[in-house]
Structure formats: C-alpha cells, structure tokens
C-alpha cells in the first residue's frame, strides 16, 4: 500500500490551500484533535515524514525537509475560549494572526502577535517562536503562551500549562513547544495571555535610538530602518504626549509599523541588545533591515553574499548570538551554509527530547539545528 493510499480516508486540504503548499501533493487537513492523532499514528507506523503547515509564513526557516505528508492546520480554526475580563484567549492552531487580532481589537485587547503576521497562524507563530515588534514592552511570544495542546509524533494528545496567568504545575511543555518548529508535535490549540490596547498610540520619529531607550521608561518599541528611527508609544493621552515631548520627536497618531524586510535572502540577526547599533553598521550596505533596539533583534534582507554572511555570522556568534536564515529564493543557499549556524551545546539532549515526543522521528526530521 502506498503512503497516499494509507491516508486516503483522511480529509484532504482544499485545492486553493494545496496550491500554496509546495513540498508534496499529499496535504491532509484534519478537522479536530482525534483526526490529527489518527493521521500521526498512521504516519508513525509507516515512518512517513510529516511537515506541519500553518500559513506557510515561516517555512523558510531551518534545514529543508522533504515530507511524505503535509498536515495543514487550516481546518483547526476555532476560537475555543476568549475571556476578555480575564485577559486570556484559547484558540486552535490554524487560526490566523489577522483573525485573532481583529477579533481582540473589537474589545480593545491584543495578543501582541507579529504586526505583519496576517496569514500566519498562531500555531506557526508559536512553532517558530516569532515575536512581533511590541516585544520590548510585552515580552516575546513564548512569555505569553500559557497553555498548549499538541499531538505528538506517535499520536498522543498532550496538554501542558494552564489557562491562568501564573502557573508552576509540572514541566512547562508549552515553552518547549515554542520554537520547536513542528518537531515535537502538531500544535492543536494554545492559550495566550492578552494585553489591553492603550487608549492612545503614537509613532514618533527621533534621531537617536539609544537616547530614546534611556529617556523613556518602557516604550512599546524603538525600531530603526534605513529610513531612520521611530519610537512607538502607548498609554494615556497625557502619558504619550509627555513622552513624545521628552524624546523631542515628531509624533503621528497610531502605530506605523515598517514592512518586514524582503530580498533574495532574509535573515534574523540576534545579538545582545547593546550591540544593535553595531550590528546595523556591519550589515552589507545594500541590505534592508528592521532593527529592534533594546531587544537585540534585527531582521535583514538582501542579495546573498557568502563571504559577507560568514563574517556577520562570525561576529554575531562571537557575541553570543546567531544569524539565522529565514528565507532564500534560491534553495541552493540552504546547501551552501547551515541555515542555523553553529548548533548550540547539548545537541544529544535535544535529540533525546525530540525522541520523547516523536519516537519514530517523523516530524520535520532534520529541520532543527544539528539536523544535517
């Protein structure tokens, strides 16, 4: 029996969805936890390689995987529980960032998911541990993840964490899932801690990012691009006005977020926060970037230059950071260098952890650092 035959009884993803999923024609779209578990159990039996697919937004990250089956989370798209008065939200993994934030905004709340997220799914954002620009104020995505339910590689339904804002009850499996890139399980649902949206929001253009960071108590973001530095402020009318005056900049109403950088290759440069300005200076002159001051993250993009990338990566790793490939138009880039850079210490432990969740090693095999 072929792999396709073995999965014949499971729902296929609709045609238009399959069109955005390139690596295999066999794209399944389970509608609930049980169906997801049944698919993974079958896949483990067959040792069929599985790639989990949300919006496809972060599929450029990591070693390339050649899956036998893609599991799309498109049909796992329900809002499970929203408690506005408790500032918590439980959603299924396939719900898009745009849908979540639009819904929350109606009651003046936010999950602080990536501002450019749009078609990305919450499951994908969690799996890739992607944080938005507002991280300086609200912390990274993994800090706002309270609970996660996953289906492991061998079809077990495992829930960790809880739906309250403070919790130390057992091992924090949700945090391990954040950034696991689909190697531990399919993220079926997650619970986020929410934040109230401030009454007034403003974007202020300033000259000096470092000075703004020192002057302001806790700005939402201080971002720098080739166009200059912008400070993002949120709070009461009086607060935002006084902060804008103190950084001596030109304020405009609302948040004007920069578009994420695009190019032949896209990279995530991670360094200690104090090195952001130096990092900007070290980027190839024709690359574009969004630098998050105070956070230590720069997303940058441009033509691929192996020597320049090696030099930048060497500097970042020397400083305790990393230069991670997030997207390359030319797939051969993934062969010419390690998309993650130098693997972290404790790789044997990492592999054993993956085996505990995915004994048959079918989930995105080889995608994480040290995978090839």
């Amino acid at each position: 029996m072929s792999i396709a035959d073995a999965f014949a009884s499971f729902p296929r993803a609709p045609g238009e969805l399959a069109a955005v999923v390139p690596p295999t024609e066999l794209v399944l779209a389970p509608g609930d936890v049980e169906e997801t578990a049944a698919i993974l159990e079958t896949a483990s039996d067959l040792r069929a390689r599985v790639l989990v697919w949300g919006g496809g937004t972060h599929q450029g990250i990591g070693h390339r995987v050649e899956p036998d089956v893609v599991i799309s989370t498109a049909a796992l798209d329900r809002i499970v529980a929203w408690e506005p008065d408790d500032l918590t939200l439980v959603v299924e993994g396939g719900v898009t960032v745009a849908a979540v934030e639009a819904m929350l905004a109606e009651r003046g709340q936010t999950a602080a998911l990536p501002e450019w997220g749009g078609p990305a799914t919450v499951g994908g954002v969690v799996a890739a541990a992607i944080s938005g620009y507002r991280r300086h104020r609200y912390g990274p995505t993994r800090d706002r993840l309270l609970e996660a339910t996953i289906v492991t590689g061998d079809g077990r339904v495992v829930r960790g964490g809880g739906r309250v804002v403070k919790n130390v009850t057992g091992y924090d499996i949700p945090r391990l899932v954040a950034g696991s890139f689909g190697s531990l399980g399919v993220i079926v649902s997650v619970c986020f801690k929410l934040w109230p949206l401030a009454e007034r929001r403003a974007t202020v253009t300033v000259d000096d990012a470092e000075r703004a960071l020192q002057t302001l108590f806790r700005p939402v973001a201080v971002l720098e691009t080739r166009d200059g530095v912008s400070v993002y402020l949120a709070g009461t009318e009086a607060e935002v006005q006084s902060e804008a005056e103190r950084v001596d900049g030109v304020a405009t109403e609302g948040f004007a977020w920069p578009d994420p950088p695009q190019g032949e290759t896209v990279w995530s440069l991670r360094v200690p926060p104090a090195l952001v300005s130096e990092g900007i200076g070290r980027l190839p002159a024709d690359w574009v970037f969004v630098a998050e001051h105070g956070v230590g993250h720069l997303r940058c993009a441009g033509r691929f230059d192996a020597a320049a990338v090696a030099e930048l990566r060497g500097w970042a790793e020397e400083a305790g950071g990393a230069l991670v490939l997030e997207h390359a138009e030319d797939q051969s880039v993934y062969e010419r260098l390690d998309p993650w850079g130098t693997p972290p210490s404790g790789m044997a432990l990492q592999r054993r952890l993956m085996a505990a969740f995915d004994p048959a090693h079918i989930l995105a095999p080889g995608r994480l650092p040290g995978g090839r």
Binding site: P140, R156, R159, K166, T169, Y171, L176, G235, A238
Partner: protein, 472 residues
C-alpha cells in the same frame, strides 16, 4: 571509600555536614514535611557540583538541590535519603551588565541582594517573593517563583535569559544567553520550574528591569471580601494591568497591624494594596481608574501612600504577613493555588466555607491580580489529627480551584505537597509525557526523586519499537 569520605575528599570536612543536628536541620524546608538526610554538601564552584553528582552516581544515592530552604511544597525535602546539595555558598554575582540589563549570578545569591547590587544602575530583579530577603535565585529558578510584582512583570521564567546546569551525567549544559531566541529547543523554559528534578543550576543569567520613574501605592478598604475581589476583577476588566494588586482579609490585617502599627484599618473586611508604576502622567491616570472601579464596588476608604516611607511600610506589612500570623496560632499551613481572575469572588466564598467545614481558621493574603490565592490555615500541630484535617482541607481547596478553571500552584511549586493531585489537572497521557521528559534529563531518577510527578506517571508504552538510530 564511603560516600562521606569521597565528599570530604572533594570539599574538605568544613563543607560536608553529617552531624545529627545538621541532618535534622536540612531534613525540612519551610513547609510541613520532613525527610531523611544522608549528608549535606556545600559546593562553591560548578566543578565541585559536577564532582558531587558523579560521586552520588557512584554510590547510587539521590541528589537533592537546595537553596535557602524557604520553599513550602517540600521540594527540597529528601524523600529517600541522599546528598543535599545546598548552593548557598555559590553566592557570587559574576557580572552586572547594565547596558544589556542582565546579570550572571550564582544560584546561592539572595534575591534581594541582587536587586540591591543592581540599584546603582537603576535596575532590579523583578520577581519579589515575600521571602526575598532569604530566598535564593537558584530556588526562584527551581520554583518559577513569583511575588506581588509579577502581575505586570511575569514570573521568574520571564526573567531568565540563560542557565548553566549540571546534568545527571555530571556534564555542564549552557543554554540561552544575552542575545534573544537561542536556536534549537528552548531548554531554559523546561528547567525553570523543574524543582531540581532535571539538574542543578550552577549559574543563571537573569534579566534586570529598570526601576520605574514614578509609583503610586493605594490602600483601599472594603466592608466585604466580595467587593474587594470584584474590584480586582473590575480593574483587570477595565484594561489595566497594575504593577501589583494584593488583597488581605480582616483576620490577616489584624495580625499584621498588631505588630506593624501602620494604621491599617482592622475593622475592614478586606483591604487591597494596588500599585501602579511608570511616568507620572501614567501613574496618575491609572490610579484614577483604580479609584473609580473601587468606588463602583463600595470602597469605604482610598488612601494613597504619601511618600516612600509610607509605601515601604505598606509593603512591609504585606510581605511580612506570614511572620505576623505566629501570634494567632502555633502553626500555619500556607497554600498556593490559582484561579482565573473572573472566578475570584465565588472562589473566595468557597474558601471560607471549606475553612468552616474543617473547623480551621482561614486567613488570606494573596496576589489577587493574578488570581493567585494564598489561604493560610491556622492550627496547632500538637493537637492530634490537626495536620490531617489541614491536609484534607488543602486537597479540597485545590480541587475547588481546578474546578473553577485554575491550576495547582502559581509560584510555590508541586514538590511533594501536590504531587498526588496532579491528576486533577492532567490526563495519564499528559503525565506520561512529563515523565518521559524527566527521563530524558535524568534516566536513573537521581535528581530529587519522587517530586512533581506521582508514582506510576510513566505508564504509557505505545509499543511501537523504534529501530536503533532512527532519530539520530
């Protein structure tokens, strides 16, 4: 060579404790459980911790990491003998990196000492348990400790950037660092809150938080606990996340006022301590919101701390509450559970009912803004059966909170105390997954055995043989 002589050979006689008195003292944490200690080791370096772990393995005895012993869930209590590895001498602050707002510290550094050391840079370590003048950073990491100011700042896990850990095989793992988002699986989050069951943290890189430019601390008085609880829910629902939002009931207020003399209203059914931080316009606006909500719930009096001295006094009252209760009864049992904030009013009502049913005086002082309850049950341990009654009431409290959508522990951990209640929150499959995780780190079950997970958690074998090397 005996275990004792091996350890003395490594650490010298001064740093290996095995007298009857020492073994008695280290047989307990700040909770109610006592265990049997074989020997206590006091390492000063990572190398020594590695060697202790190897010695323990050679003699096949458990290793129980311990900080200051302020834990309440029995996390540091040895359940089957073993080497207590007390990290209190590993109390060096290696680096305060003000530019990157972080510090590398030894696990034995006392929480408050770190904030004091960071003060010249305008920074502090945000988690502030009531025991902060005694508890260690290593203990905070082990229990994912909280504190009043975790409402806005998050618990310890949100403030740990990197860890150096000695694993079961004696090897050192360094995970995380000053740069955000380390590549690979994020092991930091698994180790934080693991209560010494996965390894021994020998260094921690912690985030330091800027001291706020301005602060307002409000003391709000209510004639009913329900109005106070409803005010907490109302403040959160109004879209405000204050820096802290603490509640104290009448019995607790009386106990605190009796020795502190801060002018706390002892005739009030409940008081709320609310704090907002930030720029002056922000704290003024937020204090106004709190006043409005409180008045809407029949607040009797709203007092704003006039100066730092008064603010300090109010916080002293809050954070020393557990000491103050000694006058009310010889012993107390402090509980720690969490409910969704929207369930505070009904949960509080039932908490008092449980106290009445078991004939136990219930006192409450807790992190209301997080929904993190801390009912204190007063009792006299010398009275036969009293502790059993307390345990029965405690189990019922946990069941109540889980039924209301909450969890077993917010910041004290599971330890021994709630290990056998884990099934209230998790399915056998969930627990099995956690047991597998423990097994990955500690295949021989050497680190702090019989904690967190109930016996028999590792029960599922799906019987799917994995070919050798399939996942390598």
């Amino acid at each position: 060579m005996t275990l004792q002589t091996d350890l003395v050979g490594l650490l010298g006689p001064e740093r290996v404790l095995s007298s009857d008195l020492d073994r008695f003292l280290y047989g307990k944490d700040a909770g109610v459980y006592r265990g049997e200690v074989t020997v206590v080791a006091l390492p000063e370096t990572t190398d020594e911790v590695q060697e202790i772990v190897r010695i323990a393995a050679r003699h096949d005895v458990p290793v129980i990491p311990r900080g200051a012993g302020t834990g309440l869930a029995g996390g540091a209590v040895p359940l089957g003998g073993g080497v207590i590895v007390a990290t209190t001498r590993m109390n060096q602050i290696f680096e305060i990196d003000a530019a990157n707002r972080c510090a590398w510290v030894g696990p034995g550094v006392i929480n408050l000492d770190l904030s004091r050391a960071a003060a010249p840079y305008g920074l502090h370590f945000a988690p502030d348990p009531s025991s902060q003048s005694a508890c260690t950073i290593g203990g905070n990491v082990a229990n994912n400790s909280g504190g009043p100011h975790c409402l806005a700042e998050g618990s310890t896990v949100n403030h740990v950037l990197g860890l150096e850990v000695v694993l079961a095989d004696g090897e050192v793992l360094v995970t995380g660092g000053k740069a955000p988002d380390p590549v690979g699986l994020d092991l930091r989050g698994i180790i934080v809150g693991s209560e010494g069951t996965l390894g021994i943290v020998t260094k921690a890189l912690v985030r330091l938080t800027p001291n706020p430019p301005d602060v307002r601390t409000l003391l709000i008085t209510f004639d009913s606990v329900e109005d106070a609880a409803a005010t907490v829910s109302g403040i959160i629902a109004a879209g405000l996340v204050p820096a802290a939002l603490e509640m104290m009931d009448q019995r607790m207020t009386e106990a605190v006022e009796n020795w502190l003399h801060a002018g706390l209203p002892t005739d009030a059914a409940a008081i709320l301590l609310a704090e907002v931080t930030g720029d002056t316009p922000a704290v003024e606006a937020e204090a106004d919101v709190i006043r409005q909500v409180a008045r809407g719930h029949r607040a009797r009096e709203i007092r704003v701390a006039r100066d730092e001295a008064e603010r300090t006094l109010l916080w002293k009252g809050r954070k020393s509450a557990f000491g103050a209760v000694a006058q009310a009864a010889p012993d107390y049992y402090l509980h720690d559970t969490v409910v969704p904030r929207t369930k505070l009013v009904e949960t509080m009502r039932e908490v008092y009912e449980i106290g009445e049913r078991y004939g136990l005086t219930m006192m409450n002082v807790f992190h209301a803004g997080d929904g993190n309850l801390h009912p204190l049950m007063m009792f006299d341990a010398s009275e036969p059966g009293a502790l059993d009654r307390v345990h029965a009431a405690a189990d019922e409290l946990v069941e109540l909170c889980v039924r209301n959508g909450g969890v077993l522990s917010g910041e004290h951990g599971i330890g021994k105390e709630k290990r056998d209640l884990m099934h209230l929150m998790f399915t056998p499959v969930d627990l099995d997954a956690q047991a597998r995780l423990k097994e990955v780190f500690d295949p021989d079950g050497r680190f702090n055995p019989e904690k967190i997970l109930p016996a028999g958690s590792r029960c599922f074998d799906f019987g799917r043989p994995v070919p050798e090397g399939a996942w390598i």
